[in-house]
Point group: C2
Chain length 451, copies 2
C-alpha cells in the first residue's frame, strides 16, 4: 500500500524549514521507545519494522504534495525545492520483529541528517505503536488459550483499515492461527478462515435449510453458527446435517457459538455432539472474547477447541495505545563532534547517547535481566538492536512472516512465566550500565548549571 | 486513497459462494447501528459516510484479487467469474454526517442483492465505527474547551494511518479548529497547524538560540515550546525573543506548555507575559489531555487559550470501539414478497423491518424524543434517514466538509445540555413506534412457535 510522506505533523516541516534556513547540518540520533507499561502489561513484543523500513526506503514527496505545501503559503521556495529531492539517507538499528522488550529500551534507533530524521517521526511512531501494541496484546490472548487455536476476527471493529491489516499480521506473529481478513492473506500471507453469519441463517426459511445449503457448497469445510434462534435446536440441526454429510463421505468441521454463557453452552453442545458420535466436530467460540474471558472459560470447564477473537484484541481495548515516543539522544556536527543530549522536563526525562540493549540469560536459557548501555560499552549479554539500514538502504533482507512467527514463539518461551501472568505481573529487571549512568549524571549537572 | 475490496471477512465470500450456488436471489435490507453506549457516552455524532459511499461507488475486485482467491482453492470458477463482474447496485439511506444519534437507531440502511450487501459489510462497519467513534469523542473534548480552540495532535498515536486521517477529519467535524496532520489538509481540506518539538530546542546550543532560529524563519507564526529544560527560564527566553520580534515589527504568536501542572504553570506564564506587556501572546497547552483534564484545568483556573489534544481523542481511549453491528432486518424474494426478519439470540436481539428514525422537538427547537418506526408509518417528527444512493449511484452530491461542520454545530446546539454532561448523563428517550412493536411481537411468536 502506498503511503503519502505528507502523513506527518506540520511541525516536522516547520522545524525542517528553520533548520534548512539556518543551515543546521547536524546528524541526529533518535530513539523510538515506550516510556512505560499500560495497566496489565509486563512485556512488549516488537512488530511493525517491515512496514517502517518499507516507508523509509521509499520516502519521497510527490509533485502534488509539494504543490499543496506551496499553496499553503507557509514555506519559501528554496525549502520546497529541497523537499522535492529529499530522501531518507540514514541508518537504522532495530529490534527484530518478535523480540520481547521492556520500557525505555529502544525499539528503533535512527541516525540521519536532522531534517530527515524529523520528517519520518510521525509515521514511524504511528506504525510501530499500532503493530507492537496489537502484537503484545495478541500474545496475551494466545497464552490464555493454552495451545488452542485463536483466530483474529477484528477487522470490522479495528480503528481503520490499515489497523485491520496490522491486527491480522501482528496477531499471527504473536501465535494466532490466522485471520478472517482476506486482504491480510493476500498482502502478508496470513492464513485466512471463515464461518457464517447470523444473516445467512436468517436468509433461509429454516435454520436446517441454511445449514444444508452451506454444506452443499462446502461439504468438507463447514462451520455452522448454531445460536441464531436457540442453540439446542441449532446443535440438533447441525447434527442432522453432519449425519447427511457423513452419508456422502464428508465431515462437518465445527459448530460455532457466538452468544450466551459459553462455558455452559459449550459443555452441553459437546455432550450432544459426542452422544451423536460426532466427537470429531470441533466447537468454535466467539463473542466479545479477550484473554481474561478465555482464562475464565477454562476455569469454568468450557469445552472449546478454537477461539475467534475480535474487537478486544484488534483494538487492544484495555490499552489502546502505547506511550511510544521518539526522542533525540545524540547530535553530531559537520566536523564530527558528537554530543549526547537529554531532556529534563518533569516526568519526561530521556536517556542520552547512542544506546544498545544487552540481554542476559540464566542457566536454563531463560531471560534474566537486561542492561541498557552505551554503544561500544563492554557489557555482558546478547546485543538486541541489529543494524537494518545504512545510508537509507536495507543491509540485508528482512525475515519472512513465518520466520518472524517462529522467532516470536521462541522468545515467548524464553520469557519466564512470572512475567506472563494476566494480572499482577512481576517486573522484569532492566538496569542502566555504568557508562550510561555516568553520562546521565554529567549531563544533568551541565543542564542545571546552564539554568 | 484506494482501498481493496478484499478488505473483508472471509465468511462474506463463503456465504456469497453458497448463495450463488443455491441461486438465492434475495434482496436484503441491513441496518448498520450501534447496540449500546460505551461508558460515559450519552450521544453519538454520525461520521464516515463520505468514505463509505466512495467505497460503494467504486466496489470492484481486481484481477490480482480474483487470482489470489483462485489460488486459495476455496471457490469454484463460476463463482469467481461472478465476482469479477460484481458491483454494488443497491440503495442506501443514511444519517447525514454530523447528525446526533442514539443506540439502535440505524446510521445506515442498505438494500441490495444479498451477496452485494454482505460483501460490503466489513468495510462499512470498519469505516463508520472509527469515524463516528472519533467524532463523538471529539465533540466531548470541544464541549469541555468551552469555545477555546482545540487542535487534533493525535497522528503519532492513532491506530494506523487511515485512523490518523479519520481522527483529523472527524474531530474537525466535531468542532476542532484544525489538525497537525498535513495529509488531512491535502485530502480533506482540514486546516493544519504546527509548533515545535523538544528535539528542535535540544538541537541548538541554548534554548534562546533555538527560539531565535525559529523566529527568524517564521517571524509572524512562531509558537515556542518553553518546557524543555525549565519553564520559567523558557518563558523568559520567549519574552526576550518576543521583544526582539516587536523591534522588527513582528509578533510572537504563542508559547506552548507540554508538561507539569498546567494549571499552575499557565497562570505563572500568563503573569510573566502580561508583566512584559505581551498580553497578545497566547498560551497553548498539550500533554496527555482529554475532556476530563480540560474541564479540571478550567476549574483550577488555568490560563490557556488553545489546546492540542492527541492520543486520548485520537484513539477514543476511554471507549476505543463502538458496539456497531450490521444486521439483516428484511428480505424480499424475486417475486417481490417481502418479509421482515429478526434474531432472538440472548442479549443480541435485533429489530425487524425497513425502519426510519423520527425526531421530535420541543417549543425551543431542542431535541425532545426520537421514535424508531417502520418506513411509511405515520409518525410525528422529522425523518432523519436520507436516501443517498439508488441503484449503486449517488442520488445527490455529498455536502462539503465546512457544511458538515456547521451542520454538526447546529445539531449539538439543539441537543439539551443534560445529555452533554461529561459524567452521569441523562438518557435521551428513544421509543419504538406502534407498528414496530406489533411487528416485533408477531415475529417473536412466529420464531418461538417454529421452535
Amino acid at each position: 500500500m502506498y503511503t503519502s510522506c505528507l502523513l506527518l505533523d506540520l511541525y516536522e516541516l516547520t522545524m525542517a524549514a528553520s533548520f534548512f534556513e539556518q543551515k543546521v547540518a547536524l546528524e541526529a540520533t533518535f530513539d523510538l521507545f515506550v516510556r512505560r507499561f499500560p495497566k496489565n502489561r509486563s512485556f512488549f513484543v516488537a512488530a511493525g519494522l517491515e512496514k517502517a523500513v518499507h516507508f523509509l526506503e521509499h520516502f519521497s514527496f510527490t509533485r502534488q504534495e509539494i504543490d499543496f505545501l506551496k499553496q499553503k503559503g507557509i514555506f519559501k521556495d528554496a525549502f520546497l525545492d529541497y523537499l522535492k529531492e529529499v530522501r531518507f539517507t540514514g541508518s537504522v538499528y532495530a529490534l527484530p520483529e518478535g523480540t520481547i522488550f521492556f520500557p525505555n529500551e529502544p525499539l528503533m534507533r535512527i541516525t540521519a541528517p536532522i531534517i530527515e530524521a524529523q520528517l519520518v517521526e510521525s509515521y514511524l511512531l504511528n506504525t510501530m505503536n499500532v503493530a507492537t501494541m496489537l502484537c503484545s496484546k495478541a500474545a496475551r490472548v494466545v497464552a490464555a488459550a493454552k495451545g488452542r487455536g485463536v483466530y483474529d476476527f477484528s477487522l470490522r471493529r479495528t480503528q481503520g483499515q490499515d489497523a485491520g491489516l496490522a491486527a491480522a499480521r501482528s496477531s499471527y506473529i504473536a501465535g494466532c492461527f490466522g485471520t478472517s481478513n482476506v486482504l491480510a492473506g493476500l498482502q502478508y500471507g496470513v492464513p485466512i478462515t471463515g464461518t457464517m453469519a447470523h444473516s445467512f441463517v436468517m436468509s433461509f426459511k429454516t435454520e436446517l435449510e441454511s445449514f444444508r445449503a452451506y454444506a452443499s457448497t462446502f461439504p468438507d469445510a463447514a462451520t455452522f453458527l448454531v445460536d441464531t434462534y436457540d442453540y439446542r435446536k441449532g446443535v440438533e440441526n447441525a447434527i442432522t446435517v453432519a449425519k447427511e454429510l457423513e452419508a456422502k463421505g464428508h465431515k462437518l468441521r465445527a459448530i460455532r457459538l457466538d452468544s450466551g454463557d459459553l462455558a455452559v453452552i459449550s459443555r452441553r453442545a459437546r455432550a450432544m455432539l459426542d452422544n451423536a458420535s460426532l466427537a470429531y466436530v470441533k466447537i468454535f467460540a466467539s463473542g466479545n472474547l479477550d484473554e481474561y474471558k478465555i482464562e475464565k472459560l477454562f476455569k469454568e470447564g468450557a469445552k472449546i477447541d478454537t477461539f475467534g477473537v475480535g474487537t478486544n484484541m484488534g483494538v487492544s481495548s484495555d490499552a489502546p495505545y502505547l506511550d511510544v515516543i521518539y526522542k533525540l539522544s545524540h547530535i553530531e556536527d559537520a566536523k564530527g563532534n558528537g554530543n549526547p543530549v537529554m531532556k529534563l522536563s518533569k516526568d519526561k526525562v530521556t536517556y542520552p547517547g547512542k544506546k544498545q540493549v544487552f540481554r542476559q540469560y540464566n542457566k536454563k536459557g531463560l531471560y534474566q535481566k537486561d542492561i541498557l548501555a552505551l554503544e561500544g560499552e563492554k557489557v555482558e549479554g546478547k546485543a538486541l538492536l541489529i543494524k537494518v539500514m545504512e545510508n537509507g538502504i536495507l543491509t540485508s533482507p528482512l525475515p519472512t512472516l513465518e520466520k518472524i512467527r517462529a522467532f516470536t514463539e521462541s522468545n515467548l518461551k524464553a520469557l519466564p512465566n512470572k512475567y506472563k501472568e494476566l494480572y499482577a505481573q512481576a517486573q522484569y529487571p532492566v538496569a542502566l550500565s555504568k557508562g550510561l549512568r555516568q553520562m546521565i549524571a554529567q549531563l544533568t549537572r551541565e543542564i542545571k548549571s546552564k539554568g
